[in-house]
Symmetry: C2
Subunit: 212 residues, 2 copies
DNA sequence: CGGGATGTTGAGGCAAGTCAATCTAAGTGG
DNA sequence: CCACTTAGATTGACTTGCCTCAACATCCCG
């Protein structure tokens, strides 16, 4: 009924505006969901990780975003038709999915607010804090987060340029908020300050994400 | 089990971060959903109109956005508990809601893309075109749209200032794309040009919106 | 017919984008 | 194992589009 598949880094799991007759549950790795405008501008609408769901529930299964593996990804693959049949027989799961979809709508609202009225340093601070909580990784001595995506990905997610993202990282370093032993390893030196900058008192607790 | 209520213009149907034990189905009028940051910045995350649904499905029914009537609103009101019971007994409706939630996620993706990488005139053009299709109103001689919300609402929805919105309206007038007999009546003079500017070939067809 | 709220227009500043150069890290092949 | 290559990240100089601030116009509503 389902089987596990390995998608190597940079491989495409689904393409913008094309049919997709599969539903994936991410087991390991990170996926980015993005759309590209005709002139090349790109917006990443979200990231998916272990436990998250990728695929359209709708009958006409056209997918609106491209899903690309940021790291090697292991995903559990279902045929969409089989997945839908299974759904028909278990209203509990159906309800569960609806709850998750509600959570996803809230997450997208957060993203809209981030893009609509926050400044670059607020955006990056919020991003780093969410990354830290969402996919905990092997930690060093203090609190730290592994950032699997490239600066360009962060930029396209936050609605900024790579240069601005890079400068903001440097600013955070100079302010003593973080340390950057490697480009993709953030060590938190002053979490309180980051929460302050991000305009958050606590991080929202949400269920699994649904990517489509 | 349910009853119709009139909410006068500017009245609040739900408040950010407070409990809401009701579920509304909008019968008439327009509602704006927004969040306000501690320092007063506001982002409108969406508008709801006839047929759209307002309220949380989750058990812990905390609402994350404020819902305010842009015009006089007539809404069909359900107790959330009763609504949930009714849902339990009709998996078809449950599935229907899941489809609508998927649509809503796509709409929010569109909004994210608009805020993340589009320029002011592209944002306004897209907004006007969506408004025209979404809630068709009594039309004049040519194609036109009634815009019930104030400039400040449009600005906060598009992530711009009122000044920029106003200037962009003026620009569209001068370019002959639209005419503005009244501030809230847009007559389309060159739809093709607006589609071009908005970067759209066709408008996405979506089901009802779900506001939470 | 006021008067306050809303919308428009103008002038100027600045934050973030653009362009360009440098630095770093990770491969790749001899 | 080390030189070479290349992609990614950082830093700097410059530009500009949108925001800010301010004045004025217009529209409602009492």
């Amino acid at each position: 009924m389902s089987h596990s598949t390995l998608f190597p880094k940079d491989s495409i799991l689904a393409t913008q505006d094309s049919e997709l007759d599969k539903v994936f549950i991410i087991v390991d790795g990170i996926i980015k969901l993005y759309q590209i405008l005709p002139d090349g501008r790109r917006q990443i609408v979200g990231f998916l990780g272990p436990g998250d769901l990728l695929g359209s529930i709708k009958r006409n299964a056209s997918v609106h975003s491209t899903a690309e593996a940021v790291t090697d990804v292991v995903a559990c693959t279902f045929e969409r038709s089989a997945f839908l049949e299974f759904l028909q027989d278990s209203p509990d799961l159906l309800f569960e999915l609806l709850i998750n979809a509600s959570d996803e709508i809230e997450s997208q609202h957060d993203h809209v607010i981030l893009l609509g009225c926050k400044r670059p340093h607020e955006r990056l601070a919020a991003f780093l804090l969410v990354m830290q909580q969402r996919w905990p990784v092997a930690r060093g001595n203090g609190e730290s987060a592994h950032i699997p995506m490239a600066r360009a990905d962060i930029a396209d997610y936050l609605g900024l340029t790579v240069e601005t993202v890079s400068r903001t990282f440097t600013r955070f370093k100079k302010l003593g908020f973080i340390a950057l032993p490697r480009t993709n390893l953030v060590q938190f030196r002053d979490l309180a300050a980051l929460y302050e900058v991000a305009g958050l008192t606590e991080l929202p607790v949400r269920g699994i994400s649904m990517g489509l």
